[in-house]
């Protein structure tokens, strides 16, 4: 029996022993475990499962054991993932420290920085936020204005970051700041770590059109940041950001499946709704056509993903195809939302009115929230630019 087979069997046995039955049910958003000084566990089972995993470093399976990681090879990590999926084990920890920041710090951080921050990420003791976007920068990230001035042993940071997800819950934030105002855009930017408890840091939530808010604006008013919190070289923060960005896409897609947003099948909801109300059958010839048209395209999108999967398996991946996913997927999602609104009619016009059901509220809230999907993480306009240039080779 090969080593990997041994590893698989041992892992399976270990998971069966340490993952309580309750932690092998599909997870709901409210039971996700996020890190942080003030973290809370939804249940004793959740805490014991988390601690078993983090003790082995399996919250970050491939990270070096020197920093508390699991030290697994890529093959072993894959087996761990497969076995967890097979048993239905919940992810032990949700953290952007795990998904994005940790890998970048491992690549660019000093030994001291790694020893200081990585173990706390693995053990979920510190929750990280991301400070990239600024109110006036939009898609042009490199035009950021938050500045960090050199004051000898520390930087003095002034400015503001927006879309800092759950910043009110975060302990630390990693930021892109301008350290050389005279250099061309991307060349005067550094990557800085800031403790949210530092004097001068404040957070205010952003209310979205959907009424929800997990986003914040974070303000820095004469915030002193020790020099040792600089990651990578001075004015070379863009390189760190690029490394981090590589992990963001992977995270975005895993977030999708993890966030467990309550979604509805277009066809199922249409059948329920159009079928029940006899009067609605009268004017749904057009709606019926729209349902068929959209469902066909959504199937084609699923088939595109499936085709990419088989290409990947055969090591014949077409590098152009991944460039299409975000634009197509988000546009379809918004079309589906609009069509569901049309089908639900006046019951889809609120996420709180007593005249509508939970399902109707959810459809409506999704509709509003999903407007952000064609903006966040690279606007559709940027995606189309990229497709034109990189997939089609159009001159720029």
């Amino acid at each position: 029996m090969s080593d990997l087979n041994t590893f698989r069997e041992e892992t399976r046995a270990w998971l069966l022993e340490h993952c309580p039955e309750s932690q092998r049910q599909p997870i709901v958003k409210s039971e996700q475990i996020w890190g942080g000084r003030n973290r809370k566990f939804p249940s004793a089972d959740a805490q014991s499962w988390f601690e078993a995993m983090s003790d082995r470093g399996w919250t970050a399976p491939t990270w070096p054991t020197a920093y508390g990681g699991g030290g697994l090879s890529a093959e072993e990590a894959k087996i761990l993932q497969q076995e967890m999926a097979r048993l239905g084990c919940r992810p032990a920890l949700y953290e952007i420290g795990i998904w994005m920041f940790g890998p970048a710090l491992l690549a660019f951080g000093t030994e001291e920085q790694k020893l200081e921050h990585i173990p706390k990420i693995v053990r979920g003791e510190i929750r990280w936020a991301q400070g990239y976007s600024e109110p006036s920068a939009g898609s042009d990230l490199a035009s950021l204005k938050t500045k960090a001035e050199d004051y000898g042993d520390h930087f003095l940071v002034n400015g503001t970051k927006i879309w800092t997800t759950n910043a009110q819950l975060a302990d630390w934030i990693f930021c892109l700041v301008r350290t050389n105002p005279d250099a061309p855009k991307q060349q005067g930017i550094s990557f800085l770590l800031i403790d949210m408890r530092t004097e001068g840091v404040s957070v205010s939530p952003i209310e979205l059109i959907s009424g929800e808010s997990e986003f914040c604006q974070t303000f820095f008013d004469n915030v002193k940041v020790p020099k040792e919190n600089l990651v990578g070289e001075l004015n070379k923060g863009w390189d760190v950001a690029k490394e981090l960005l590589k992990h963001e896409r992977a995270m975005m897609s895993s977030m999708e499946s993890m966030s467990e947003k309550e979604e509805f099948s277009l066809v199922d909801l249409a059948k329920q709704t159009l079928g029940v109300d006899a009067e609605d059958a009268l004017n749904n010839a057009e709606v019926r056509t729209k349902i068929a048209a959209l469902d066909m395209e959504m199937q084609a999108f699923a088939q595109l993903n499936e085709r990419m999967f088989y290409q990947h398996k055969a090591k014949q991946s077409d590098p152009r195809l991944p460039l299409l996913l975000k634009h197509i997927g988000t546009k379809q999602l918004q079309r589906k939302d609009e069509l569901l609104l049309e089908i639900l009619g006046n019951k889809s016009l609120s996420w709180e009115s007593p005249a509508s059901s939970h399902t109707e509220h959810t459809v409506t809230r999704n509709w509003a929230f999903d407007k952000a999907h064609t903006i966040a993480g690279g606007t559709s306009e940027i995606q189309l630019n990229i497709i034109a240039k990189r997939a089609l080779g159009m001159a720029s």
Binding site: S143, G345, N346, A355, T379
Partner: protein, 367 residues
């Protein structure tokens, strides 16, 4: 097809008033007061002082004689700031119903109080999820109303409630109830446009013969006409909103720089804005045409469906584009674009969605 001098002056007056006194912030205040009125009563009283409840009716009915084109001038302006008011529920819908379908006695009983602004009225017509006259179930038989109604506007503020129902013969009838005294169940709720609506249930609500418009005569055609007026009035408000959204979006793109150039210089955005502007002027022309037909006494059955279907689809498109082009800030509640977006979806359902009106229009075309 265009405003005469009086109508233009009226538009200027209303524009100045709305821009100064009823900015979008006013709608936010209405929205925040979830148990409060559906519109700012004080602002409405000021519109009453301007004579707006009487704007469309002819002088013999106590009106100011601006014609419905005058009401169009008003709605285009109030639409620009998504101002909440009973202009559609009371002025366009209920007042037209009484004027068109009422007997002389009924008109002289109610019209003076409506045109003076002493009272307001609203109409209960929609049922279930979607507005559809042909699918209407509510019955008015033997002097009693049975059935349920959805999405009734401004009910708590209205003195009169006009219920549209079907007679035993399948004709349309309109019963005028005093909303505070009549016997029915009402559930009041806010929708995402920040205004208040009610769902009603009539188990066995009695109506005196004198409270049925036309007092026994068949008023189906008049009721349909009044609802067509309410339909194009809704569309007029939507056109005002769409126009304001395009202005705001272009302004934003002209102000905002990215990659060292103004966003407005990106050709893809220019073309999309140009397409929106084409849509705006198309639907605006259709709205002007419908109101002009109305004032010339022509049938507006087909025109109403044309105008509402176009307004629904175009405003939906324009509000989506406006949010997208405002970028991240476009999806925050801080910016006003989201309020237009939500208002557009509510308006879509008032007096018929686009599919309903396209179906009705196709029937009118004979295809």
């Amino acid at each position: 097809m265009i405003f005469n001098e009086e109508q233009s002056m009226l538009q200027d007056t209303v524009r100045a008033f709305v821009q100064e006194h009823a900015p979008v912030a006013d709608l936010r205040a209405v929205r925040a007061d979830v148990n409060g009125p559906s519109y700012n009563l004080e602002l409405w009283n000021q519109l009453v002082e301007l004579g707006l409840p009487a704007v469309a009716l002819p002088e013999q009915d106590g009106g100011l004689g601006f014609g419905y084109m005058g009401l169009l001038a008003v709605l285009l302006e109030t639409g620009k700031t998504v101002m909440a008011s009973p202009l559609v529920s009371s002025v366009a819908a209920a007042t037209s119903l009484i004027q068109l379908a009422g007997t002389d006695d009924q008109k002289s009983l109610w019209l003076p109080r409506l045109t003076s602004g002493e009272i307001t009225a609203t109409v209960a017509v929609q049922e279930g999820r979607h507005y559809s006259l042909s699918a209407m179930q509510t019955q008015l038989v033997g002097g009693e109303i049975k059935g349920s109604k959805s999405m009734v506007m401004d009910l708590a503020e209205a003195d009169l409630l006009i219920v549209i129902a079907k007679t035993a013969e399948g004709k349309l009838a309109a019963a005028v109830l005093e909303s505070s005294k009549a016997d029915f169940d009402a559930q009041r709720y806010c929708l995402m446009d920040g205004r208040k609506y009610s769902d009603l249930t009539f188990t066995q609500t009695s109506v005196a013969p004198g409270n049925i418009l036309g007092e026994g005569a068949d008023r189906t055609a008049e009721i349909e006409q009044a609802l067509n007026i309410a339909t194009i009035a809704t569309a007029a408000e939507m056109v005002g909103g769409a126009e304001s959204l395009i202005e705001r979006t272009v302004q934003h793109l002209n102000d905002r720089e990215q990659f060292d150039v103004k966003l407005a210089t990106f050709q893809a955005l220019q073309h999309r804005c140009a397409e929106m502007y084409c849509q705006l002027e198309l639907v605006k022309s259709a709205v002007f045409s419908a109101f002009a037909r109305l004032d010339r006494g022509k049938d507006i059955h087909k025109a109403a469906s044309q105008v509402k279907a176009l307004a629904n689809d175009y405003y939906q498109h324009i509000s989506n584009e406006a949010v997208q082009m405002h970028g991240g800030m476009g999806v925050t509640d801080e910016l006003d674009v989201g309020l237009y977006l939500k208002r557009s979806r509510v308006c879509n359902q008032l007096f018929g969605d686009a599919a309903y009106h396209r179906e009705r229009y196709a029937k009118a075309l004979g295809v």
